[in-house]
Amino acid sequence: MPRKSQSPLDKAARLLDLVPYIHAHQGIALEALAKTFGVTEKELTEDLTTLWMCGLPGYTPLELMDLSFDSGYVSIRNAATLEKPRSITLEEAVALILGLDLIFSVIPTDRQDLISLTQSLRERILHIVKLPPSISVTPHLQPQIQVVISAALADNSGLVIEYHSLYRDELSSRTILPIELQQEQGHSYLHAYCYSANDFRFFRVDRITKAEKTKVERPKDLVPHEIPKVPFRAQVLRSSRETAERFGLGEISVGEEFASSSYSTEWIERAFLASGDSLKLIAPSQMRESLAKRAQSILDRYL
């Protein structure tokens, strides 16, 4: 929970939101309330003390809000004008709409009831903040696979997966023990022990085409092996964003040299083929020769 700032305006917003929340949760523990609003108990007590002084003009006990919180549990009476929650802000609406899109994608197709509820909620929220419908999320993961992975992670079971390796351009079946999901550069990766490789591997979740739970023995040796990386060096010949993104180069200029490495020589060769005239592989020289030869043999078919 991020720390809330303490400007008078933030505090006023929080006070306005505290009233309906307490109204709907009479007798809530101070601690739980503080946690919901992302403040310390001390800050919350200050908030409640301030609220205690608020009410309708006149400010006699009849018009003031009646809060009690001495016992460590909070309740409110006389909150009439503020007892309904404030309308949602644009930012909150966007957060909900995009969240709903995501939920939408994981609803099983036989739950027509939930599908139409989600759509109707989306429209009602858009309407409140007057946003165009052109804000949306299309998750790229197959929900069923995500479900199976989550379940395997939750109960430490193994998985049989079908995986498409991009650099081998092969579909392979592997037995793995999932360890954790990681997010990097917009993609989800599953870190797992792979029984085919007898080692730890990362699998890009969107390249897992099938997943089924299976029983596995926990591997004895849980220390990852060092896989040797193949170093290479290259020079930029033409500025290309696509090439820069493929090699993770950022803004690099023509003529500049860079050094990098990969676990797979296959990946290096394919990456240079795909980069065409924008890069020159300098080292290792063996790989440079085989790249030239391979390009020539592909070229021969066209000429």
Partner: protein, 327 residues
């Protein structure tokens, strides 16, 4: 030390007094059935002190502050028959969250939606939205959805200003890394934001060419500057904007032969697959000829372009460069 403590106490008191006044003003303006004039407000709402000028200044600032919280203050006349002093009030309908009839099942869908932002860009907005929903006093139904909590990709801190610009039709200006890796300043009227395949895309009408373009957020360098409102912007043809990104009309296709069991990344793009002996023939729509050329070359000897001639020429040119650069 003594001064410091006094300072802090003073600050806490000022913060509280100001927030207290804002809350009292909100309550008074919500409770009133008719417009309250400024003098009535100064007289009855707690916290307006000092000279008339300083009360006026306080009130002006308070109004702006409440508006920045999204609270609409209506200005109107106390008595429509007389052209007298303006009055103020907050309409209950605009202040309160109104989603119509909300069922327990809907509340649980919305709370699940708000939890999709764990740690990502809008997580604190999602949390405050959740608090408001929980304040409706509607019990939450257990959702019998598979035990998953899908999580959205992080879009960085700019997502809030982008959505605001979309809602208000404001011009956005930013520096974009173009396909030749050059920095370009672009000015657009934003129309949509979309997350697809792990990336966020912003689309809008490019002001320089008056055509719709799509930008990947992670290719935008530095900050956005949010400009003025584009008044006569026609949102009517944005009705379908949700699918602008994929609704590009494709009239240009490539015919590519691929070895059987290979080229999975090309096969997913194909609109048609024909079997020809040991090879399969794919029909692939061409969205961007450069990207397609690279993807075909990635597959080496397992892919061969039959048509069109432009794509073949690109492939040949790049292969010739590869040969001469590495010989």
């Amino acid at each position: 030390m003594y001064f410091l403590v006094a300072d802090v106490q003073q600050k806490v008191r000022t913060v509280s007094r100001k927030s207290e006044r804002l809350v009292n003003l909100t309550i008074a303006l919500l409770a009133t059935k008719r417009y309250l004039t400024k003098s009535e407000i100064f007289h009855s709402v707690d916290g307006y002190e000092g000279s008339h000028e300083s009360k006026e200044r306080m009130f002006e600032r308070d109004k702006d502050d409440l508006r920045s919280l999204g609270i609409e203050i209506e200005v109107g006349s106390f008595d429509p028959l007389f052209n007298d002093e303006a009055g103020y009030r907050i309409k209950r309908e605009s202040y309160e969250l109104n989603l119509g009839e909300v069922s327990p099942l809907e509340v649980s869908l919305l709370s699940l939606a708000s939890s999709a932002w764990q740690g990502a860009s809008l997580s604190s907005a999602a949390q405050s939205a959740f608090v408001k929903l929980a304040s409706l006093g509607i019990p939450i139904d257990e959702l019998d959805l598979p035990g998953i909590a899908p999580v959205l990709p992080d879009a960085g801190p700019e997502i809030a200003s982008i959505t605001r610009a979309i809602a208000e039709h404001r011009i956005l200006e930013f520096t974009y890394l173009n396909s030749e890796l050059q920095r370009e300043v672009r000015e657009i009227v934003p129309t949509g934001l979309k997350s697809n395949n792990g990336f966020w895309y912003l689309s809008g009408v490019d002001q320089a060419i008056q055509e719709k373009r799509t930008f990947r957020l992670d290719r935008i360098l530095g900050d956005f500057s949010v400009g003025k409102v584009q008044k006569d912007f026609d949102f009517a043809d944005e009705k379908k904007a949700g699918d602008t990104y994929d609704a590009v009309k494709i009239t240009f296709f490539a015919i590519v032969d691929v070895r059987q069991g290979k080229c999975a990344a090309l096969r997913v793009l194909a609109t048609d697959i024909k079997r020809i002996g040991e090879w399969d023939q794919l029909t692939i729509p061409i969205l961007n000829i450069d990207t397609l050329t690279s993807l075909i070359l990635w597959h080496g000897e397992d892919a061969f372009v039959q048509q069109p001639i432009e794509l073949r020429e690109q492939i040949i040119y790049r292969l010739q460069s590869l040969v001469s650069n590495h010989a």
